[in-house]
Symmetry: C2
Subunit: 210 residues, 2 copies
């Protein structure tokens, strides 16, 4: 009896692992397709073909294109939170804040992310999902912890609360129109990231003078 149960568990464990692995494979293919053609041109048909599975199997894993997008954005969000937490805690908090904004500005121009940043109507729908809100709030809190430390260390100019520093950082990072500047040839992605990081640093940092 117990042996039988274990066998069933092992079998379903294996099946669950296989299922998860196929889900990962699908997501990888979806990311590659997104980077190649962007969100709007991505179809479930093409994705199934790329992975070498039937449409039915694909729909077994993801209910819709939007479902895939939400999963992708959640993976990005988790990566973001991990990156923030991975920053050397011995660095001065103001340097950690600058590193965060620089990284966030750079990463949005990488092919896969760019496909999402440019798919605005889709993004607007995802942003309303509770799962995304929760990840967004966790990311904001991770930044808030560092902003608090910067205020405590006397590195933030007077008149700016740490909540305001987080708000400003996210306002700068979340604006969807840097891509238009790049498209118009007014700046390269690297120049945009550098300018925004520089501006942010100068704007929040307490000056040593007087």
């Amino acid at each position: 009896m117990i042996v039988e149960e274990l066998a069933v568990t092992a079998k379903s464990g294996l099946r669950e692992r296989q299922r998860r692995e196929r889900g990962d494979t699908i997501l990888q293919a979806a990311f590659a397709l997104l980077a190649e053609k962007g969100y709007d041109a991505l179809t479930m048909e093409e994705l199934a073909e790329r992975v070498g599975i039937s449409r039915q199997t694909l729909y077994h894993h993801f209910a819709s294109k939007e479902d895939i997008a939400l999963r992708a954005v959640m993976i990005f969000a988790e990566e973001g939170i991990q990156s923030i937490r991975a920053i050397d805690p011995l660095l001065p908090p103001i340097d950690r804040l600058e590193r965060i904004i620089r990284w966030m500005m750079e990463i949005r121009f990488t092919p896969t992310r760019a496909a999402f940043v440019r798919a605005r109507p889709m993004l607007a729908r995802i942003k309303a999902s509770p799962e995304y809100r929760e990840a967004f709030d966790r990311r904001a809190r991770a930044i808030q912890d560092i902003a608090d430390a910067a205020v405590e260390a006397g590195q933030i100019q007077q008149g700016l609360s740490s909540a305001m520093v987080v708000q400003i950082l996210l306002a700068l990072v979340c604006d969807p129109s840097y891509e238009e500047m790049v498209d118009a040839g007014k700046a390269t992605p690297a120049e945009v990231a550098e300018s925004v990081a520089l501006f942010f640093r100068r704007g929040v940092e307490r000056r040593s003078e007087a």
Copy 2:
């Protein structure tokens, strides 16, 4: 014959003026209702009632609620452009930029505008309209002129182009989530406006030292 034509022109001129005046009256009522209840709760029925006209007459002026919203946003956009152009040109350009961002941050918390800022899905649709894009571009150019003057006067820190200064100013102003800070009791509207203006000024201004 000529007299008759003049009479017809005068008559249609009068009719056109009456039509425009009624359009203004409707918009004023719409603004008041928006400030009271917000965009989502506004109905064409209630608006017609408030103005004291039939629904049919209302629809003769505005095809839809969205149509009214677009008209309102266009009026705001024009006001914004006029306000920018009305700033004393003898002021140092950097002071003019600070004045613009302060004004834009303050005005969004006035009741009528707040109703729009909070009606995001509606705003997303309006933003796609060519008429709005055109007004947005004109506003950006008005700011760009001042940013160019600030660069020319040596008031902007090195490494920031005037295009980037405009981009950053608009990214800060266009973020929809300051309201969440205010709702959460983390800052008053005046504090938000002051902080963002202070941060912007410090972030773009060239330091006098070294």
